[in-house]
């Protein structure tokens, strides 16, 4: 069970960071994952008073505050326009609207969960984690870093003219995914991320046009051959490998369609 001795709504990032240096204190995002853990928190540090609960768009990109709710990412017209609806597709199956009004983008990325739809999506965007002390770190690098006591302030996404697609497979609606797949195509480069293997999302980069059926076949076979999958109560390793091939092909087809209509 989760227990919290003190609650502090931080008045500045510096105050939050200082409190977070003590091992028994914790930043709380939506608190949905934390609530399932068996931990005693001395001080729960709430960042919700710092204006970090929104997505800001400029001509060059997006700045997504760590406290932005998944539901706000799902319904943000600019971000969904840019990602060809992949942002909405990545989160709309996560539990329910009431859950997504609480769960945060910051908590989802910071958690680096293997099953994460959110991490899979951000892995194919030109995205950086902005850490309070650590500065800007590419998302792929951040995903591999060990959790420390820094604060994830926001995620920045550069607009690079790519098109995007997102697919996932679930055993039942609203359950954690069996496999996730995101794709980006732009400037002749194709990037695919496959997550919920059940391990964390891994990326595959190609210089090919997903619109050519032969290329899509080649890419799909390559992903199938290279991807390392595992078994858990949701699915077996072999089934996941098979799904990886199917989803990469579907993502390639959608990317080709998006590129054609752009």
């Amino acid at each position: 069970m989760l227990s919290v001795a003190n609650y502090k709504r931080a008045e500045s990032l510096e105050e939050a960071w200082e409190l977070n240096q003590k091992r028994t204190n914790k930043i709380i995002g939506g608190m949905l994952w934390l609530k399932m853990e068996d931990i005693r928190i001395n001080t729960a540090i709430d960042l919700s008073g710092l204006g970090l609960d929104r997505i800001e768009e400029t001509d060059d990109g997006f700045s997504i505050g760590c406290m932005t709710a998944l539901r706000d990412m799902e319904t943000h017209a600019g971000f969904n326009g840019y990602t060809c609806g992949a942002a909405r597709e990545a989160v709309r199956h996560i539990v329910g609207v009431q859950f997504r009004n609480l769960a945060t983008v910051g908590g989802s990325i910071y958690g680096r969960y293997g099953f994460s739809d959110v991490l899979t999506l951000f892995s194919v965007l030109d995205a950086h984690a902005e850490l309070y002390k650590g500065g800007l770190v590419p998302i792929r690098e951040f995903a591999g870093m060990r959790p420390d006591n820094d604060i994830l302030v926001r995620i920045t996404v550069k607009k690079d003219g790519s098109v995007f697609s997102y697919k996932s497979v679930r055993n039942t609606a609203t359950d954690i995914p069996v496999l996730t797949c995101a794709g980006a195509y732009g400037g002749g480069k194709l990037t695919l991320a496959v997550g919920a293997r059940p391990g964390r999302a891994v990326c595959f980069d190609y210089e090919t046009d997903p619109g050519s059926p032969a290329a899509a076949e080649r890419v799909s076979a390559d992903v199938c051959e290279k991807i390392v999958t595992g078994s858990n109560l949701r699915a077996g390793a072999e089934y996941r490998k098979h799904l990886a091939g199917v989803l990469t092909k579907r993502v390639c087809a959608e990317l080709a369609k998006e590129a054609g209509s752009k």
Partner: protein
Amino acid sequence: MNIEITVNGKKLRDEIDADMMLIDYLRSHGCLSVKRGCETSNCGLCTVFLDDKPVLSCSVLAARADGRSVTTLEGLRGEAEEFAGFIADQGAEQCGFCNPGFVMNAIALFREDPSPSEEKIKEYLAGNLCRCSGYEGQLRGIEEYLKWKKQK
């Protein structure tokens, strides 16, 4: 710690433990429609509005609601009764346990989109689990209610 929350339009001031969940706070103030149906933030039974957005009160610290307003089914009496009648007419309320959370989230949907498509209804209410009804009756009830609202 001290908090001040407006619950169903009434300002309440209390001294609470830092880890008191909003659901327990609301129940301690007589909002017994708000129930706990799971320990994993999955069932939607505990749905309330926090500043007009539907959230899971089992997963929010009461401390986080300090300075904000909360609405429960008790605060939506007329609107909720009107809608719940259509659900009952379809036999979609069996044990009735899921009903308060379901009604709250359905009202949140109608406020956001007064004419939702079937797909949108299903997607919006996917986080409200019901062990009895099989959901079809609930869907029929919503469609009948929306038709009636339009004619009204």
